[in-house]
Assembly symmetry: C2
C-alpha cells in the first residue's frame, strides 16, 4: 500500500486537509498517510526553513507529499516553505489546470479550460537578495538552459499526453533579452520538435491581458516562475474562485500536490473554506501514483456536488447556487455522491 | 506658445499620431510641434538607444514629449527606446488610468475606474543582465529607498488631488523580502501621512487576480515597474481594449505622454488602429501643461463619439456599436463633435 506524506499547514490548512482526507478515505482508495510537522511548529522549533530533518526524511522516503497551505512567518530570517520544498526537492514543474464550471459556478468566462505550466525553481524565486547600500537593495533573477529545457519540454509532453492542441509561451524578452530571451529562444527551438502542436509566444503583459479577457483562447501556457505565479492566480480566480484550483509540483524523484491558494488566516477555523483546491491537488496526486480510477471517481463526486448547486461561500451566488455549505458539510456532500 | 516634441513612432504609430495631432489642432489649442526622429531611423543611423543627440536636445528643450509606440529592433544590442527615455529623463512615475465606458463599449466590468501608478525606472527594467556561464544568465532587480519614496508619495498625492479614496499597494514581499519588502514597508510608512485616504496591500498574485475579477474594488494602485506593466495591460484590456488607455510618464524636469499599447505592426498602415490611447495621452499632456479646458473639450468630443457608437475595430461589437470606423474617420468624427 502506497504511503503519502501529508502536511496540514496553517490557517485554513488543517480544515481543508481534514475534508480532503475524509473524501480520500471514503473513496476506498488504498493509501496510508504519514503526517509531518512543517510550518509554524517547525519555525518555532528553530528551523528557519520551516521543515525539520525528520520531515525531510519522511518526504524523501514516501516521494509523494500532499501539502495544505502554510504561513511563512514575517521577517527577513524566514524563508518561504513552499519555495524551500520546491527547490530542495527539485520540483521543477508546477502544473495548474484552470477550468470553468459553467453553468454551475458563476463566471464571466464560461468556456475557459487552460493549464499553466510554471517553471518552479528559478527566476526571482532563487531568493538571492542583498542590500548594497543603505538605500539600494537587489534581487537576482536566474534563468538557465537546463531549467528552460526541462519545463518547456514538460509543457509540450504534457500537451501531447493530454490531447491539448496549442502551447503558448509568455516572457518579457523585449526587456530582459538575455534571461527571458533564453526562455523564449528555447521555446522556439523545442516547439520545432512538436510539429503536431500549435505554438505561439506573447509578451507577458499583453499575454496576461488576453488571459484576463479571453482565457478561452488559451490551452497550455508555459512561462517562468513569477509570471506563472501571477497568471495562475488570475486564471483560477476568473473561473469563479482561486479556491477551485489545485496544482502538482513535479520533480525527478519526488512530487508535491497542493491548492494554489494561500492559508487565508482571515477565515481560518470558521468552517468556511473551500476544500476544492486541495482536493484537486489530491486528484492530481492519485493520477500521478497510478490511481486513475479513484481520481475519476472523486472528481465525478465533486462535480456532481458542484452541479447540485452545493457551494462553499467563495462561489456561492444566489441564483446559481442552491445551498451554502461549510467546509465539512461540503465534504460530506461529496462523500454521499461517491 | 508652448512647443511640444513629438515622435511618430513605428507600426501604427504614424497613423494614430496623425489622428491625434489633427484633433489637437482642430480644438484650437495653441501649441507648436517639433518632430524628432526616434526609433527605426535612429537605430539604422547607428544609435543603439534609438535616439540621436539632436533628438535628446529637442526633448530636453521642450520638456514635454508626445510619443507614439515604437518598435525596438530584435537583437541583444538594441535597448528598448521606451525604457531609455524613461530612465534617461528620470520619468519616475507612470500613470495609467483605466475606466470602463459602459454601456458604450462592451466590457465584462462595467463600473471599473482605477488608476495604476507604476514605478518607472527601477526593478528589472534597470536592464542589467549578464551571462555567467554558457548555461546561466541573470538579471538584476533593483529597488531603492528614493525610488520607492518618490513613487509612493506620488500615488498618495495623486489620490488626494484627484479625489480618490484608496491607495492599494502590490508587491511580492513574501518571496522578495528585501526588495519588494522595502517597497511594502515604505508604503506602510508613507500611508500614515495620509490618514484621510484608505490604504491596503495585496501580494501581487492575488492582487492581480482581484483586478481581473473585481476591478471595481480598486481606486489607485501603486506598484513596482514590472507588476505595473503587466497589471496595467490587464486593466486596460478588460475595460474593452488595451487601445483605450493613455499614460503619463512624469519626472522632475520632463514629461512624456503615450498610449500604453505597442506598435502593433500586424495592423499597421491599414487605417484600422484605435487612436484613443495616444489621444488619452495627449489629454493628460494638456492637463499637465495647464490647458485643462482644451483637455476637457477634447475628452468630451471623444466621449460623445464613443457614445454615438462610432467605434474602431478593436471595440466594435455588433449590438453595442453602431458604425465601424477607420482611424481617420474616427478622428474626423471626434473633430465634428468638438
Ligand atoms: C505562497 C507563495 C510562496 C506561493 C508562490 O509564490 O509560489 C504561492 O503564491 C503559489 O502560487 O504557490
Ligand atoms: C514596450 C515596452 C518596453 C513597454 C514596457 O514594458 O514598459 C510597454 O509594455 C509599456 O507598458 O509601456
Amino acid at each position: 500500500m502506497k504511503t503519502i506524506t501529508i502536511a496540514k499547514g496553517d490557517g485554513i490548512g488543517p480544515e481543508i486537509m481534514e475534508a480532503t482526507l475524509q473524501i480520500l478515505k471514503a473513496s476506498g482508495v488504498q493509501l496510508k498517510f504519514e503526517e509531518i510537522e512543517v510550518g509554524k511548529e517547525a519555525y518555532l522549533a528553530g528551523f528557519t526553513s520551516g521543515i525539520s530533518p525528520a520531515a525531510w526524511k519522511c518526504i524523501r522516503k514516501n516521494k509523494v507529499l500532499l501539502k495544505a497551505p502554510i504561513t511563512t512567518p514575517q521577517g527577513k530570517g524566514y524563508k518561504s516553505l513552499n519555495v524551500t520544498l520546491r527547490k530542495t526537492l527539485g520540483l521543477y514543474a508546477n502544473i495548474r489546470p484552470c477550468k470553468s464550471l459553467h453553468p454551475y459556478v458563476e463566471t464571466k468566462h464560461p468556456i475557459m479550460d487552460l493549464v499553466i505550466v510554471r517553471e518552479n525553481e528559478e527566476d526571482l524565486y532563487a531568493g538571492i537578495e542583498h542590500q548594497q547600500t543603505n538605500d539600494v537593495v537587489q534581487c537576482l533573477k536566474l534563468i538557465s538552459v537546463p531549467g528552460c529545457e526541462k519545463i518547456i519540454r514538460y509543457a509540450f509532453e504534457y500537451a501531447k499526453a493530454n490531447n491539448r492542441k496549442k502551447v503558448t509561451c509568455f516572457t518579457k524578452d523585449n526587456i530582459m533579452k538575455q534571461t527571458d530571451g533564453l526562455f523564449h529562444q528555447m521555446f522556439t527551438e523545442i516547439a520545432k520538435e512538436y510539429p503536431s502542436l500549435k505554438s505561439e509566444h506573447w509578451i507577458v503583459d499583453i499575454g496576461a491581458a488576453k488571459v484576463a479577457e479571453t482565457p478561452e483562447d488559451f490551452d497550455v501556457i508555459v512561462m517562468p516562475n513569477l509570471y506563472g505565479d501571477i497568471i495562475s492566480d488570475i486564471a483560477a480566480q476568473i473561473t469563479g474562485s482561486v479556491g477551485l484550483a489545485g496544482s502538482s509540483n513535479i520533480g525527478e524523484n519526488c512530487a508535491m500536490f497542493e491548492a494554489i491558494h494561500g492559508s487565508a488566516p482571515d477565515i481560518a477555523g470558521q468552517n468556511m473554506a473551500n476544500p476544492t483546491g486541495l482536493l484537486q491537488g489530491a486528484i492530481l496526486m492519485l493520477k500521478h501514483i497510478g490511481e486513475g480510477k479513484a481520481a475519476e471517481q472523486i472528481h465525478n463526486a465533486w462535480s456532481k456536488t458542484i452541479e447540485e448547486g452545493k457551494h462553499t461561500a467563495d462561489i456561492y451566488k444566489a441564483g446559481t447556487s442552491k445551498e451554502k455549505l461549510g467546509t465539512k458539510e461540503f465534504a460530506e456532500a461529496i462523500i454521499e455522491n461517491l
